[in-house]
Amino acid sequence: MGRRIAITGLGAVSALGTTAAANWDAAREGRSAIGPHLFDGGQHGPEPVSLPAALTPDGFQAAFEAKHGRKVSGLLDRFALIALCAAAEALEAADLLDSPVLDQRTAVVLGHGQGGQETLEKSYERFFGLKSPRVHPATVPKIMVSGGVSAVAMQFGVHGPVFATSSACASSAHAIVQGAGLIASGQADVAVVGGSEAIATPGCMSGWQAIQALAGETCRPFSRDRDGMVMGDGGAALILEDMRHAEARGAPILGEYLGAGMTSDAFHLTQPSLAGTSGAMRQAVAAAGLAEAEEVLISAHGTGTPLNDKNEAASIRAVFGERATRHPVIATKSAHGHLIGGSAALQAVIALQALKAGLAPPVLNYNTPDPECDGVDVVVGQVRPIGARHALVNAFAFGGLNVSMAFAA
């Protein structure tokens, strides 16, 4: 990889807040956005059900629309609107909103596990429930998984490479890696990367209940009494930029993308595999030269499911061996829930701010050490001062699709 890649802008929208800074403040202070929510399938659905979730409050787009109008945002499903707001914040932070680089030399790559689930369920309610032969004419463009990247391109006049990635819970990690690749190969100088998800809909939640992945009360990563994940919604964006391009224009340098590892378990649709997850981490560690590092902040996939956390702890031990306990492990899904396709980008946004501040935000809702997660240093209790200058961000998706990304402060 010939070109170094700077990070020059961050944006985030989640239940923790509607800016990157607000998300960091909440994570640092140990605030959780998880609470009980009622999921009501309406007159054609079953009885409403209460489940823990971390949902972005409606109206999150107000600041965006005050600045940019509603011409693009007014036609979007929630997942794409979240992506657009996060991308706008990141572009503004990078001082790129009116830059000529957007026209031809910028890429947009965002990841989403699914597309416009809310739109899909509303149109199917009309079709199957109300027996209406006609659904809204914007149904197809609102549902498509590339709706978010198209919106960002239209809003900001981006004519270069624009596409979405989809790999369930690793979608935005793959997006970040692909955006970095476009810069490294010289196909772009700037890449708007990240992802979002908005699938906390009544129909979709019934699917998550069916697979028995959801926690009864809350998300407790690495705690012995953990019993599942908590659905979140939201998203995040990062601006990746060729280092020389960023330096030449005096851009704020918030960190550096060092490389990543990507593997596939080729094993099982829902069970993790140590070879796959540790393989991705090992590649990322090698790409960034972190094998002997004094201290690396590890932002774990940390969903709070019994299998993931056990396997992830084993992966960290497998990669770092005796040195594993030097590295503080955080799991911010305990605060913002699992944003599925948007998770990895939000975790990267939080991890970069954690490196900058020299603070590791605490894993919340942790009650009891789990012998099966032994040998790793989980940050519990309260925010902890750290000296780490590097971070690893893990994303291990259903279907065995693994990404581990390395960043420097």
């Binding site: 509603r70 011409k71 007014g74 036609l75 006609r134 809204h136 004419p137 914007a138 463009p141």
Partner: protein
Amino acid sequence: MKATESDLLDLISKEAIIDREKLTRDATLEDLGISSLDVISMLFELEETYGVVIEEGDMPQMSTLGEMLDFLLSRINAEAAA
């Protein structure tokens, strides 16, 4: 249910995402940037609100907003009277 010109302008402003004050009778659909997807969305909402089914293919050739308003009002209010 009868519709007024003001009702329709509200609906067009919402569906095509155009400031209400820009919607004058002599403005052309092209100048306003009203696309065929906007028109279909509008017809969908008219059906929801007034129960009048108007296919896009039923619409005559027209260039100004005023012509479109007259056509839509005549169809909606003819059915409402019937």
